[in-house]
């Protein structure tokens, strides 16, 4: 059984609200670095960076990528393909880093992302933005910016479809 929990207009509104919240919570956009976690976090990070650029012209609408493959503790064969890590501006030292992912679940990929990030320098702060928080955390990790809180059962699947990868924007829950 499948159910659409966010459509394209709602996803757009979520990302816009998250962008505003990011600017509210940080002092000025000049110090921000937006990094997406592969695969769909990359596109979400891009969209958030574009929003930030529209809201605050001071912000260079640029986002990067943080590959976490080598840092995961739950690696399965299909995930071993590496992606390039790209840090806009080349450094995260003393920056406020916003990590962006599509779904927050166990928290293990965020743990891996924190480890991966710290090898590149010492950020002033790291914050987490996710489109969907579906609960069932296995580690003490919480998001700072959430598109939608989605109570799920552990057996359900949450799939985020994005135009860049899947041809359309929607979040689907299936059991």
């Amino acid at each position: 059984m499948q159910r659409v929990v966010l459509d394209d207009a709602e996803i757009g509104r979520c990302l816009k609200r998250i962008s505003h919240e990011i600017l509210e919570s940080t002092s000025g956009a000049s110090n921000l670095v937006i990094l997406g976690i592969p695969t769909r976090g990359i596109s979400l990070a891009q969209r958030i960076a574009e929003q930030l650029g529209q809201i605050d012209p001071e912000f260079e609408p640029e986002s990067g990528v943080l590959d976490i493959t080598m840092f995961r503790d739950d690696l399965v064969a299909a995930d071993r393909k590496l992606a390039p890590t790209v840090i806009p501006g080349g450094s995260i030292d003393d920056k406020v880093v916003i990590l962006v992912d599509d779904v927050l679940f166990s928290g293990r990929s965020v743990r891996a992302a924190l480890d991966a990030l710290l090898d590149f320098g010492r950020p002033k702060a790291v914050k987490l933005a996710v489109l969907v928080d579906r609960g069932h955390r296995e580690l003490p990790i919480r998001p700072d910016f959430v598109g939608k809180n989605l109570p799920t059962s552990i057996t359900e699947r949450v799939n985020v479809h994005l135009t860049e990868h899947d041809g359309n924007d929607e979040v689907v829950i299936s059991s």
Binding site: M70, L75, D115, G121
Partner: protein
Amino acid sequence: MRHLVSIADLNLDEATYLLDNAQELSRINEREVKKLPALTGKTVVNLFYENSTRTRISFEIAATRLSADLINFSASTSSLSKGESLKDTAQTLEALGADAIVVRHPMSGAAHQLAHRGWISSSIINAGDGAHEHPTQALLDALTIRQQLGAGSDLRGLRVLIVGDIRHSRVARSNVLLLKLLGASVEVAGPATLIPEGIDCMGASVSDSFDESLGRNPDVVMMLRVQRERMQGHFMPSEREYQQMWGLSRERLKRVRQDAMILHPGPMNRGFEISSEAADDPRSAVLQQVQNGVAVRMAVLHELLAGDKS
């Protein structure tokens, strides 16, 4: 993928995937922290029955960069010199906790035996077996060529010339297989005594003149080391004649295309198969090959050892 014994075991997707991952890993040199935690708690053993410096050290750096523990085991300084069999040695290493064994052996097929006889369940990486194969060398050569040409996904249409002692060269065999798989065309050139029978069945064309081959303007010229240690018998009239017929001399260097690459798996015999001018020429990618060796071996170790086996 459980083992890497031969290039022949790889399909195009697997080879491309290893090269893509190696390309990403080659960028770790630009980072401040050159270490990744992917293989924490895994143990890699270098089991070398033949002398080797660069391959052994390259695997050593690759394993430690991925946070694996590494143990070096070389024939000359161990119980291997007391006559222990390959099987007993491998089983001992596994009992000591080896997750992967990197093996170099003078006998063709040694790595295959370790991987497929059922003696042990560790992952086996072939680091050169006799005159058979040296798959990580072929992968690092392909990565070097790909970087030069702008990291496309295959080498379609590229012409590669491999020159020298093809008969004793596992590097040549692995390279012919991999370059063909990636879509390149391969020509081998060397004295008739050092061209093995059947190399044409692997898909390489055979030339008996270095000068004629150079006239066909190859994109890559790969010089092989003359393996004096494997030549008992009369494979060449004299070293001087070999050097004149098959060495990449200063004169031949002028005939290599300006945008071509010169590769050599090392160690180089300067002044014999390759002149100093050629070795130090800007077209020579010898040091880039060494750097890529670490990245390729990291990619292979990661593929064989990371995560769950299923």
